[in-house]
């Protein structure tokens, strides 16, 4: 038992070895070889120390030769606290650059007056109170930051005693105000405050020092959108404008403009109104652009067909209020004409036929009763009617009585045109082949019909969107003009919109794009013939944007596309249908 006991102890083998050695010593002593015994002990100790030194030497050599490689494994990532932000093609949008902070230590200053004079000249942005306070201190004080390497070098060359520098990372937006509301900005401590900088804050921080974060935005598309929208805002003397370009298939936001905008490098100097993201954070009654949803609900539920017709000869009275049409000469309109003539009476009658419950259900599924599901934190909740009476239902059918953000409208339109599947839009670049998941709202057949109607609204000479036509690019769209509520009642100003899609012909699987333009309070111009409706301002603006961005998106003009026959009009003019 005792022989086996040592095997179970943790260092039994060592104990056993020492005992064996001791027995050898005893045996040597017993053999009267005391000298041999001592030498053996000395040899044993020598071997022990030699082994220890050998291990130490190997360890020291290893540390000396390979220590720097191990240290590099633990080195923090060099450079930025936030990753670069780039567009879908790698164009730089936001970057952390090394700047320098200036410090002053009064204890090292020989000539205070000279230092004050020289610093005042070298740093025009330096506040004199701050400098005075720093010079009266008894320790090293921070003066100001954000010096570029050139500015730092110039100041350093002055050789002022007591003036020193420290590196600091600063977020820089080299494109200034381009896509200001989409890119957003971060504070001096590197926390995203608005736009993509806020929406993708954790992604940007995690990718710091490694790889840039790519937005879905295409800078070429964005630039054309910014340019045409700002020109439209100036031309129509509008309070503001919103432009959104969306890839229908992927849901990527390729362009997002809110005018007026501001310089991202100096957001603190911008008026609050300019910093307001009208595309996501603001809600508007957007008018007749809602008729596409109303018609889609009616067609999808089977309440109406493409052959249905509506009596619009008299205003519709609801709850003591009259619903008029803008074009007052119409008597009976077929369904497609309700769309192209933008008939309020026709749309209201259709909604009443469908009933409040069904219409609410469709509008909810189109995402119009909630904030647009977006990475952008600015996405605003809609303003909904308190109750859904016949009157409010009729109003919503033509886009009044409900205020949604332009971003929510674009999201809803994408589901109309993407085969009836609703899914959120995204500001992040979608990898090729990725299929966005969504829920079905309407059938593919209804989606195709809405696409046809939108195309017809541009090609038909009486269509409200004909000014958006671009030869060969097969533009479709829907206009919208809604009076703005001012001081508790509808005023003279309006919000004009146009939601365009191109190319609006071909199968649903075709790559196509939405261009949505909204102008806040546009005014009359000589070429708008005294009108301020969407067909006269937002529609031509959308057309100009489409003409410029089509080459970037790979959409080539189709010969003869502008003169294509209208299949709906040709087939339905001979069909009577029921007059509502």
């Amino acid at each position: 038992m005792s022989d086996l006991a040592w095997r179970r102890e943790p260092f039994g083998w060592l104990t056993q070895a020492v005992w064996a050695l001791e027995r050898a010593f005893k045996k040597a002593r017993a053999a009267d070889q005391a000298e041999g015994d001592t030498r053996l002990r000395i040899f044993f100790l020598l071997a022990l120390f030699a082994t220890g030194f050998l291990f130490l030497a190997i360890g020291a050599t290893r540390c000396a030769l390979f220590s720097h490689r191990e240290a590099n494994d633990y080195a923090p990532p060099l450079g930025a606290a936030r990753a670069d932000l780039v567009d879908r093609n790698g164009q730089l949008l936001a970057v952390d650059l090394t700047h320098y902070g200036v410090y002053v230590d009064p204890r090292e200053i020989w000539d205070t007056a000279e230092t004050v004079r020289v610093l005042g000249q070298a740093l025009p942005g330096l506040q004199s109170q701050r400098l005075d306070k720093a010079l009266k201190s008894d320790r090293r004080e921070y003066l100001m930051g954000g010096l570029t390497p050139d500015e730092k070098a110039k100041l350093q060359d002055l050789g002022l005693p007591g003036v020193s520098f420290e590196e600091e990372e600063r977020r820089v937006y080299p494109l200034g105000s381009t896509a200001a509301h989409l890119v957003g900005f971060s504070d001096s401590s590197g926390v995203g405050l608005a736009g993509a900088e806020r929406a993708l804050d954790s992604d940007i921080r995690n990718a710091a020092g490694r790889e840039p974060v790519a937005l879905a935005m295409d800078l070429r598309v964005q630039a054309a959108l910014d340019d045409e929208l700002s020109k439209a805002v100036a031309k129509y003397r509008a309070l503001g404008g919103i432009g959104i370009v969306v890839n229908v298939k992927t849901g990527e936001i390729l362009g997002f403009s809110s005018q007026p905008d501001f310089d991202l490098n100096a957001p603190g100097k911008a008026p609050p109104d300019h910093m307001f993201n009208r595309g996501a954070a603001s809600v508007y009654e957007l008018g007749s652009v809602f008729k596409a949803f109303t018609l889609a609900a009616g067609l999808d539920s089977g309440v109406v067909t493409m052959n249905s017709s509506f009596d619009v000869s008299h205003p519709l009275e609801l709850g003591g209020r009259l619903v008029h049409d803008f074009d007052k000469g119409d008597t009976t309109l077929q369904l497609w004409q309700v769309f192209t003539h933008s008939s309020n009476i026709g749309a209201a009658k259709m909604a009443l036929m469908a009933g409040p419950q069904r219409m609410q259900d469709y509008f909810r599924r189109f995402g119009l009763f909630a904030a647009a599901p977006s990475e952008l934190a600015e996405s605003a909740r809609p303003i909904l009617p308190r109750q859904f009476s016949d009157q409010t239902l009729a109003q919503i059918a033509f886009g009044q009585g409900i205020a949604v953000s332009p971003l929510a409208l674009a999201t809803g339109y994408r589901s109309l045109l993407d085969g009836g599947i609703y899914s959120p839009l995204t500001i992040k670049k979608v990898q090729p082949g990725a299929q966005p998941q969504g829920r079905r709202v309407i059938s593919e057949d209804t989606s195709a019909k809405i696409l046809q109607l939108m195309r017809l609204n541009v090609t038909d000479p009486k269509g409200s969107g004909h000014k958006a036509e671009v030869p060969g690019l097969l533009v479709g769209g829907k206009t919208g003009s809604a009076q703005k509520p001012e001081h508790g009642r509808y005023g003279k100003n309006n919000v004009s919109s146009f939601v365009a899609v191109f190319p609006a012909e071909g199968p649903l699987s075709t790559d196509r794009y939405i261009v949505q333009i909204t102008l806040d309070s546009p005014q009359k111009t000589p070429d708008s013939m005294g009108f301020i409706t969407g067909g006269w301002n937002a529609a031509p603006t959308a057309g100009k944007v489409i003409a410029r961005i089509a080459p970037f998106l790979g959409v080539k003009p189709q010969p003869g596309g502008a003169n294509a026959p209208n299949p709906i009009a040709e087939t339905s003019t001979d069909l009577g249908g029921d007059t509502q």
């Binding site: 030498r39 020598l46 030699a50 080299p174 054309a224 080459p551 010969p559």
Partner: protein, 129 residues
């Protein structure tokens, strides 16, 4: 045991061979560690210098990239283009190389129609039929 004792007992000019050997090994090891450490120190110094240069170059590179992006700011390019009379190409003036023959044929047809005679498609050199 006797063999081991004999080995330990061997000496040369009064010094035991095993002790002399151990001393030599020790000196070689000390020298080796010293040389390795010295070489590593030099290498580390070089690496630090090069790393610092790389960092500086990277900073300059990022600065230059930002400057390039700033110079290519779309609004700035729009302004510069407008100054020399450049602008976006009209969609009517856009076309693919494949469509050039058809464009040429149409243009020729328009010309000849004005003169009162039609031109067959083959009259356009290189036009695909």
């Amino acid at each position: 045991m006797n063999g081991l004792a004999a080995f330990l007992g061997r000496s040369l000019r009064g010094f035991r061979l095993i002790e002399a050997g151990a001393l030599v090994v020790l000196l070689v090891m000390v020298l080796g560690v010293y040389l390795a450490k010295a070489a590593a120190g030099r290498e580390r110094g070089d690496i630090t210098t090069i790393q610092s240069q790389i960092d500086d170059e990277n900073k300059r590179l990022r600065l230059l990239q930002a400057e390039v992006a700033h110079l290519e700011e779309p609004a700035r390019l729009e302004r510069l283009s407008a100054q020399i009379g450049l602008g976006p190409t009209d969609v009517k003036h856009q076309g693919s190389p494949e469509a050039l023959a058809e464009i040429a044929r149409n243009a020729l047809n328009e010309k000849t129609v004005k003169k009162g005679e039609a031109v067959p498609p083959a009259a356009v050199a290189g036009a695909p039929q």
